[in-house]
C-alpha cells in the first residue's frame, strides 16, 4: 500500500461508499477529473487453519474416474450442480457432500464398479495379477487402492477391504468370486472419503504456522492443480520413492507436467473464470442496429478468446502479454469485425498495427460482453479494470441508484459518454464513478460489438482520461495507453497473482498469502514461470495450521 492510499484509509475515505452512505467529497465532479481518492485493494481475509479435506469438484471426479480406470471415453457425470457461494473459481476447497450428492456418489460408484468387473478391458487394466493366484486379491487391493486413495493403504485398510472382497459371492450376483470381489471392493473404495476428498492427513513439521505435507499429498496437490485429475504414474513413482519435496524435485515434475495438454486447458480455464467469459452468454446486440451479425456470435467469440489465451500461454507469455499483445484470434466472420481477413470457421491469428488494438480488453469478446443492445457500457468496462484487473474494492451502487432519474439539463446529450457522465454526476455517484468512468470511456473507440469507431452518434469519440495506478495519476489518450500503464503496474500484477493463489488454494486471498504474492509479483513472469514458482514454493507444500 502506498502512502497516499494509507492516508486515505486513515481518513476513513475508503469506506465512505459502502453501505449506501456516501460522504466523500467531489460530489459535483462527474464529467472530468479523477480527484477522489482511489478505493483500496480488496482486504485479504484472515484464516487460522486450512482444510485437510478438499472434496473433488464434479469435473475432477469425472477426470479421476477416467484416469483411474484407464477409460478412453470421458465419462461425464451428471451430478446436481454445486453452488460456489461467492468464490470465484470452480476449485473451491469448500465443496460438500450433502444429502443430495450422497446418493449420486453411490449410484456412480455402483455403476463404475459393475463396469470394472464386467468389462474385460477395464478389468484387465486394474487387475494385473493372475486371478488364480492366492496373493492376487491382496495385490489388487493394495495397487488399486493406492491409486484410488492416492496414498498407500494401511494394513488395517487392506484387511477390511480383503474381508469385503471375500464376501463377493455372498453379496454379489452369482458370478465368478474374484470378479464379484473386485466389484465390491471398487464399489466401496469409490464411496470412501479417501477417494472423494483430497485428504491431507500426514502430521508434518509445524513451522511458522504451517505444517508440511508428505510426498503423496504433494503428488495430489500438483496433479489436481495442473491436470485437474489424479496423479499420473510418474508422480506416484516419485511419491513412493520419497522424491517429491525438494525445490529441484518439484520443479522437475512441474516442468514435465507443463508439457501435458491438460495443463493448457486448466490454464485457459483459470483465465476464463478470472475474466468472466461466462458473461459472453449475455451478449445480445440489437439486430436492427447491428446488421449482418455473425451467426453463433457467442460461440465464435468464445472460441476466439480461448485461442488467444492458449497462444499467449504457449508462447510463454504472462499478464503483460494478455494486456498488450498486438494480436487476436478470429474466424472468417469475426475477422470482418476487425477489418481483417481470415478463411474458415477456425479461429486464426490476426496481427494489429501499433495503435490499432492491444490485449484482450480490446478484443470483441470483452467489448461485446460489456455492452448493451444498442450501445457500449463504459461503466462496466471501467468497473472491470478497477475490480478485476486492479482488485480494487469498489462497492455496489446504493439501493435504488439505477432508477434515479437524471437531473434536468440544457446541455445536449449526444454520445454515450455524455449520457453516462450526466447520469453518474449526481449526488453521491461521483465518489465511485469518478474512478470508474474514465477507464471505461477509454474504450469508446470500440462499439457494442467490438468494431473500431471514431464517432459515436455523429460526434467524435472522447477516449481521454486518467487513472490512479500505483499511487500516481496516469493520464491516457486512449485505451492503448491505459492498458500499457496497467501492464507495467505493480497493482495489476499483485492482483493477477493474488487470483492465481485463490485458484490454487481454493479459497479467498488471505494475509498468510501476502508474502508469496509479493515474491511472485516482484517481476513480470510468464504463466508457466509463475505457476512453476508457485508450485515449488514452501507455501505450496505446506498447509496453514496456525495462521494469524
Amino acid at each position: 500500500m502506498n502512502d497516499r492510499m494509507k492516508l486515505a484509509a486513515l481518513l476513513g475515505l475508503l469506506a465512505a461508499c459502502s453501505g449506501g452512505t456516501i460522504s466523500n467529497g467531489d460530489s459535483n465532479q462527474g464529467k472530468s477529473g479523477t480527484t477522489a481518492q482511489p478505493f483500496g485493494t480488496v482486504t485479504p481475509v484472515q484464516i487460522e487453519r486450512e482444510t485437510r479435506l478438499v472434496r473433488l469438484s464434479h469435473e475432477q471426479y469425472a477426470n479421476t474416474l477416467q484416469d483411474l480406470f484407464g477409460d478412453s471415453d470421458r465419462r461425464d457425470v451428471s451430478f446436481a450442480p454445486d453452488a460456489l457461494n461467492g468464490f470465484k473459481f470452480d476449485t473451491s476447497s469448500d465443496l460438500r457432500v450433502d444429502a443430495r450428492s450422497g446418493p449420486e456418489y453411490r449410484a456412480s460408484a455402483e455403476e463404475m464398479a459393475a463396469r470394472a468387473a464386467n468389462d474385460a478391458s477395464v478389468f484387465a487394466r486394474i487387475v494385473t495379477c493372475a486371478t488364480s493366484d492366492a496373493a492376487c486379491p491382496e495385490q489388487f487391493i493394495r495397487s488399486f487402492g493406492e491409486r484410488a486413495f492416492r496414498h498407500p493403504l494401511s494394513d488395517a485398510e487392506v484387511g477390511r477391504f480383503r474381508a469385503l472382497f471375500d464376501r463377493g459371492s455372498e453379496l454379489g450376483g452369482g458370478g465368478d468370486p474374484f470378479h464379484e470381489g473386485v466389484q465390491l471392493v471398487v464399489e466401496a473404495m469409490l464411496q470412501a472419503p479417501q477417494f472423494l476428498y483430497r485428504a491431507e492427513l500426514s502430521e508434518g513439521e509445524l513451522k511458522n504456522g504451517r505444517s508440511s505435507i508428505d510426498d503423496w499429498e504433494m503428488a495430489s496437490r500438483l496433479s489436481y492443480f495442473l491436470y485437474d485429475s489424479m496423479p499420473d504414474a510418474q508422480l506416484f513413482q516419485r511419491a513412493r520413492a520419497g522424491q517429491l519435496h525438494t525445490d529441484d524435485q518439484i520443479a522437475g515434475e512441474v516442468t514435465r507436467m507443463l508439457g501435458d495438454a491438460r495443463v493448457s486447458s486448466k490454464f485457459v480455464s483459470f483465465h476464463e473464470q478470472l475474466w468472466q467469459f461466462g458473461r459472453y452468454s449475455k451478449i445480445a446486440p440489437d439486430s436492427a442496429t447491428y446488421k449482418n451479425l455473425p451467426d453463433k456470435f457467442i460461440d465464435r467469440l468464445l472460441n476466439a478468446s480461448d485461442a488467444f489465451l492458449g497462444e499467449v500461454i504457449d508462447n510463454n507469455g504472462g499478464l503483460e502479454e494478455f494486456l498488450t499483445a498486438r494480436y487476436a484470434f478470429a474466424d472468417s466472420k469475426l475477422a470482418a469485425l476487425y477489418g481483417k481477413s481470415v478463411t474458415g470457421d477456425t479461429p486464426a491469428r490476426i496481427d494489429f498495427d501499433k495503435g490499432e488494438r492491444e490485449g484482450f480488453l480490446m478484443q470483441a469478446g470483452f467489448l461485446a460482453s460489456n455492452a448493451y443492445a444498442i450501445k457500449t457500457d463504459p461503466i462496466h468496462r471501467g468497473l472491470f479494470i478497477l475490480r478485476d484487473v486492479l482488485c480494487r474494492a469498489i462497492p455496489d451502487p446504493p439501493p435504488g441508484a439505477a432508477t434515479t432519474p437524471p437531473p434536468p439539463t440544457t446541455e445536449p446529450i449526444v454520445t454515450t459518454r455524455d449520457e453516462v457522465s450526466l447520469l453518474t454526476g449526481q449526488q453521491y455517484c461521483p465518489t465511485c464513478h469518478g474512478q470508474i468512468n474514465e477507464p471505461g470511456f477509454s474504450f469508446e473507440g470500440f462499439d457494442a460489438i467490438g468494431r473500431a469507431r471514431t464517432q459515436d452518434n455523429g460526434q467524435d469519440v472522447d477516449t481521454t482520461g486518467s487513472i490512479i495506478v500505483d499511487g500516481d495519476e496516469v493520464p491516457f489518450q486512449d485505451a492503448g495507453e491505459l492498458v500499457e500503464a496497467l501492464a507495467q503496474s505493480d497493482e495489476a500484477r499483485n492482483c493477477y497473482v493474488a487470483r492465481w493463489l485463490e485458484f490454487a488454494n481454493g479459497r479467498d486471498f488471505a494475509t498468510v498469502d501476502v508474502a508469496l504474492r509479493d515474491r511472485l509479483a516482484k517481476q513480470a513472469l510468464s504463466v508457466k514461470e509463475l505457476v512453476t514458482t508457485l508450485a515449488t514454493s514452501p507455501e505450496f507444500r505446506s498447509r496453514v495450521e496456525a495462521g494469524q
Binding site: G86, L184, A188, Q191, P395, P399, A402
Partner: protein, 517 residues
C-alpha cells in the same frame, strides 16, 4: 424458524442406530411399505395405483395424510394489470380469472387461494438494510425472509423449503432428505441471483436444470425391482455391507487432528449416506416411470451449455414439472421447488405462439436494455411496442405450466378420496411484482391445495394493501405467509425468517388467520 418453541421433535419412529440395520421405514406413512407408480408419460394412469396401496389397518387409517409443499418460482415480475382475479374479494367465480393470465387455472379454481397485498419483508428499495440490488433481494429474500450479505448477495438463513423438509421429509430426525430443487434455464453466475433455496446461511442450493440429473435423483435410490423383494433385500444387504466398510474409512479420518469445520464436513457427509441407505433398503421406494425415463434419456449425454440453450426451455419445463409431480406423489420428497431462470435474466420466449426478440428481463422493463436514459426515447430507447401483451403472454404461459403441475397432482388419489394436491400446498410466487419498477410490493401469490384442509379454497382474500404504491407496504409481510405455510405443514412455528429486531422493520410473527379454513 420459531423464536419460542425451538426445534420440533418428531415423534416418528427412529429407524436405526448409527450402524444398525433398518427396523422400519420410519416415515409414519399411511401408504404401504412398497410404494410405486406406473404408467405416467402424459396419460393419467397413476390414479388407481396409489389407491391400491391405501392403508388397510385401522391404525394406519387414523394417521394423517402426508402433506406436501411445492414452490413454483417465477422471476422478473408480472403484468400487474392483467394478473389478479377481476372479481371482488371473496369466493372465486367463473368470471374471476377470465381474461387474466390466470385463466388457464379456471378449471382448478375451487382449489385455489389468492392472498392479495403481500409485500416482501425484509423490504427492498433500501427501506431495510442488507445486501443485493432489487433483483438480488427478490431472489435471496423470497423463500428465506432473510437479509442477503452485501458481498455475494446470499441469504443469511435457510429457505422455507429446506426448513420444512428438515422436519417432514423421509428420513430420520436430523437426517431427512433435502427438498428437490429444480431449475429451468441458465444460471448467470452473478452473485446470488441464481438462487432461491438455501440449506443454511450463505449456502445456496443450485437448482438442477438437467432433467436427466433430476430424474436420476430418485432413480439412484434403488435399482432393484419393487416386484422382487428378494432382490431388494439382497441389494439392501450389499449396500449395508459396503456402508459398514465406508464407515470404518470415515472413522480412520476422525482419528486425525481435524478442525471442527472438517469434522462437520465429514459428519454431514456420513449422515447423508447413512440415511439414504436405510430408506432405500427399508421402503423399496420406486418412483420409476418408463415413459419419463425415456423422455429424459437424451439429456444424459448433453453438455451443460446445450442443456441451457434457449430453445430447450419449454421441453425442460415440461419434463421438470413431470419429475416434480412424480417425486411428490411417490413420496420421494414432500418438498420440492421449481425455479424459472433467475432475476435479471430469463429466456427469450419463442414458442407456444410467442416469438419475442428480447428476453424476459428486458421486456419486464418495457425497454430492450437496462441503461436507457431516464425517460428519453432517443437512440432506440422507446418502449418495445406491445411489451405489455408480451408480458401477459409470458405470464399466461407460466400459469399454463402451473396448471399442468396442479392437474397432475390432483390426478393422484390418496386415502379418503383426497388427491395429492388436496393434501399439499403448491405455492406460486414471483421474485418481483411489477418488474418494470422492480417492486417488492403487492406480490402475486397463489396457494393451490388446502394442505389437508388447513387453507381456505376457492377464495380471493385481501391481506394487506393492493396496488404497487410506495407507501402501503406495512400491512402484510411475506415472512408471515411463509410462517403460515410452515404451520400448514404441521410444524408449529411463531416466526419465520430474519430474527425479530434484526432490521426487517415490517416483519411479523404468527399466521394469517384469514387464510385458514
Amino acid at each position: 424458524m420459531s423464536k419460542k418453541t425451538g426445534n420440533q421433535t418428531s415423534n416418528r419412529s427412529t429407524v436405526s442406530d448409527y450402524t444398525g440395520r433398518p427396523m422400519s421405514d420410519g416415515r409414519g406413512s399411511p401408504l404401504s411399505r412398497r410404494r410405486f407408480l406406473r404408467g405416467f408419460g402424459g396419460v393419467v394412469l397413476g390414479l388407481p395405483f396409489l389407491e391400491t396401496f391405501a392403508p388397510r389397518s385401522a391404525q394406519a387409517q387414523a394417521a394423517q395424510a402426508i402433506k406436501r409443499f411445492g414452490v413454483f418460482f417465477a422471476c422478473n415480475g408480472v403484468n400487474m394489470d392483467r394478473w389478479f382475479p377481476t372479481t371482488s374479494f371473496g369466493a372465486l367465480t367463473a368470471d374471476s380469472l377470465a381474461g387474466t393470465a390466470n385463466e388457464p387455472l379456471d378449471a382448478l379454481r375451487s382449489k385455489l387461494l389468492y392472498p392479495r397485498g403481500v409485500h416482501m419483508s425484509p423490504r427492498g428499495f433500501g427501506r431495510d438494510q442488507g445486501g443485493g440490488d432489487d433483483h438480488g433481494k427478490g431472489m435471496a429474500h423470497k423463500l428465506t425472509a432473510q437479509f442477503a450479505d452485501s458481498t455475494n448477495w446470499l441469504a443469511q438463513g435457510p429457505s422455507v423449503d429446506h426448513v420444512i423438509a428438515a422436519q417432514i421429509n423421509p428420513g430420520t430426525a436430523g437426517a431427512r432428505r433435502p427438498p428437490l430443487n429444480l431449475l429451468v434455464g441458465r444460471p448467470g453466475g452473478y452473485k446470488g441471483l441464481d438462487f432461491s433455496s438455501y440449506s443454511e446461511a450463505g449456502r445456496a442450493v443450485a437448482g438442477i436444470n438437467n432433467p436427466w440429473t433430476a430424474y436420476s435423483q430418485f432413480i439412484n435410490l434403488n435399482n432393484a425391482s419393487p416386484d422382487a423383494p428378494a432382490a431388494n433385500d439382497k441389494l439392501t444387504q450389499r449396500r449395508q455391507s459396503v456402508l459398514d466398510l465406508v464407515k470404518a474409512q470415515f472413522d480412520d479420518l476422525k482419528l486425525k487432528g481435524l478442525s471442527s469445520d472438517d469434522q462437520r464436513k465429514l459428519d454431514a457427509h456420513f449422515t447423508a449416506i447413512r440415511n439414504f441407505e436405510i430408506i432405500a433398503g427399508a421402503s423399496g421406494l420406486s418412483c420409476g416411470d418408463s415413459a419419463l425415463s425415456t423422455a429424459v434419456q437424451p439429456y444424459q449425454s448433453l453438455q451443460k451449455r446445450d442443456v441451457e440453450q434457449n430453445d430447450r426451455y419449454p421441453d425442460i419445463t415440461d419434463l421438470n414439472i413431470e419429475i416434480l409431480a412424480l417425486a411428490l406423489a411417490c413420496d420421494f420428497t414432500r418438498v420440492a421447488t421449481l425455479q424459472f431462470d433467475r432475476g435479471s435474466g430469463g429466456p427469450t420466449f419463442r414458442w407456444d405462439g410467442m416469438n419475442h426478440e428480447y428476453n424476459h428481463h428486458k421486456l419486464s422493463h418495457g425497454k430492450v436494455k437496462d441503461d436507457c436514459f431516464g425517460t428519453s426515447t432517443a437512440n432506440g430507447c422507446d418502449d418495445v411496442a406491445g411489451y405489455e401483451d408480451m408480458l401477459f403472454n409470458i405470464d399466461r404461459w407460466h400459469m399454463t405450466k402451473y396448471a399442468n403441475l396442479l392437474s397432475r397432482l390432483d390426478s393422484y388419489k390418496e386415502a379418503g378420496g383426497k388427491s395429492v394436491l388436496d393434501n399439499s400446498v403448491i405455492m406460486y410466487t414471483n421474485e418481483l411484482s411489477d418488474g418494470r419498477a422492480h417492486s417488492f410490493m403487492d406480490l402475486p401469490y397463489i396457494l393451490a391445495g388446502s394442505a389437508g384442509g388447513y387453507f381456505k379454497q376457492g377464495q380471493y382474500i385481501l391481506l394487506g394493501q393492493a396496488g404497487s404504491t410506495k407507501s402501503d407496504d406495512q400491512k402484510a409481510p411475506h415472512n408471515k405467509l411463509l410462517n403460515t405455510i410452515v404451520n400448514a405443514m404441521g410444524i408449529p412455528s411463531d416466526w419465520f425468517g430474519a430474527p425479530e429486531g434484526s432490521g426487517g422493520k415490517t416483519m411479523q410473527g404468527g399466521v394469517y388467520d384469514a387464510l385458514l379454513a
